[in-house]
Amino acid sequence: MIIAVASGKGGTGKTLVATSLALSLKDSRKVRLLDCDVEEPNAHIFLRPVITGKEAVCIQVPKVDEKKCTYCGKCAEVCAYNALAVLPDRVLVFPELCHGCGACSYLCPEEAISEQGRETGVVEWGNADGIEFVQGRLTVGEAMAPPVIRRVKEQADGNGVVIIDIPPGTSCPVVEAVKDSDFCLLVTEPTPFGLNDLVLAVETIRQLGIPCGVVLNRAGVGDNKVEEYCRKENIPIMLTIPLDTEIARLYSKGITLAEGMPQWRESFGQLFDSIKETVDERNRSLKR
């Protein structure tokens, strides 16, 4: 089962929930945590994994053989990203604009274009006290997170529970990370910003057809409009974490709820049970 932990707004406690959930389940199940927040991956701070392997993520960018090139301009014509420009006696390649679709090399009539890998990030894996850990890191200065996310997502198979830490927001990196999940937990806080961004996140997750539930963090701050919204939209609030300076203090030091306040393990266990119930029920009704 794949559980995505997302949030429209950043800094609502998404990583804290994902890592605490993983730690609360690891003694009874096989758990794998994928950190798909490749721009700012933080799960490693909380899980402190031993990294045992690493692989570069590369985009295949064009390399033009000027001996074969006739400067016909076909490659620049088919490139949707303006990553190639053909001058009368030269071809300019702008690798940072290339999405690696392969159209230029395939369509070159002279077979003058080969491809070479350009590293834009890494995928790392290891073990964190029994949790299988995988994370992606986008290289600083690189723009495109989705190819790195796709590579991390390739590890979302097998048995057991896969928990994915999703980047904040609602745009393409979020969609890439969330799609194909069985359930999406949306972590938010009861403030106007929290509500505004939750509404956007719900629209995104619904468009993908994935069932979702809310974790309300820092309950007690702000107002009760998030609860009103969830009631109206029929979205279950599956866990409430109070505003608590002790939790904030632990968080600041990179300590999860499961570790720093072990009484929370039971709540996260129950959270998992209700997610499982929803997913099983949905699978049964899809089969019917």
């Binding site: 721009e39 949707a80 392969g102 200065g141 723009a143 393409c172 106007p192 961004d197």
Partner: protein, 285 residues
Amino acid sequence: MREIVVLSGKGGTGKTSIVGSLAALAKDKVLADCDVDAADLHLLLKPSLKEKTEFWSGQTAVIDEEKCTRCGLCQELCRFDAIKDYTVDPVACEGCGFCFHICPVDAIAMEENLSGHWFIADTKYGPLVHARLGIAQENSGKLVAQVRQKARQIAQERNLDYILSDGPLGIGCPVISSLSGANAALLVTEPTLSGIHDLERVLGVCRHFGVTAEVCINKYDLNEENTRRIEGYCADQGISVAARIPFDNAVTEAMVRGKPVVEYASGRVSQEIEKLWDGISGIRS
């Protein structure tokens, strides 16, 4: 004219609350909300809409079922796994057009995407340019570029001193788009290990694009040991710490009332943000 972009890498550090207050303090500026993905600044600034424009960007492949001979070449060549059972998944499609070019029976068309909207609004603090990326859309970087271009145009037309922009989270495409060519970046962080980790990465992006940065430590008293670590790190990097803002529930209370905190409370948070603006309004490019 000086363009100052406020970034944080990590979410929830108080970036937008601080931008809202700087908006109330700064004179003669245009505001740009470059967080086109989950914009919140409008909740503090209460804009009245003047202009709404559609943002068309990128394309999606569409297969004509009647023409398609099910040869499968497009499925085989698509590197984004966007074609299954001779149908394009619009979410996975990157709009590269490879399939369109290679289809032997011309059964594939490329259709323009309505990727979002951008807006020009008036606020009591000055003009605001903001945007809304469509749900699950790509090209956030291009929409950010559009917001900045419009903000710059307004600043020039009205001879304004500042463009103050609320930047996106992370370090990827929209952040790079909000940052390149700006005069200065203000990096809002918090004294947590995640905050420090993310600050280092977003500072790396500023360096990569040659933009001068200063740091603001928000909620500094939540963990003073970590605050000292950030100060030590900034000193090593030759970056100045422009402000240390204490934690105060007044920030959330102000947000609930839809006001910048400097207009809601007069305590230390507001005093520190005033000092912050005095400091950064002179950051040299």
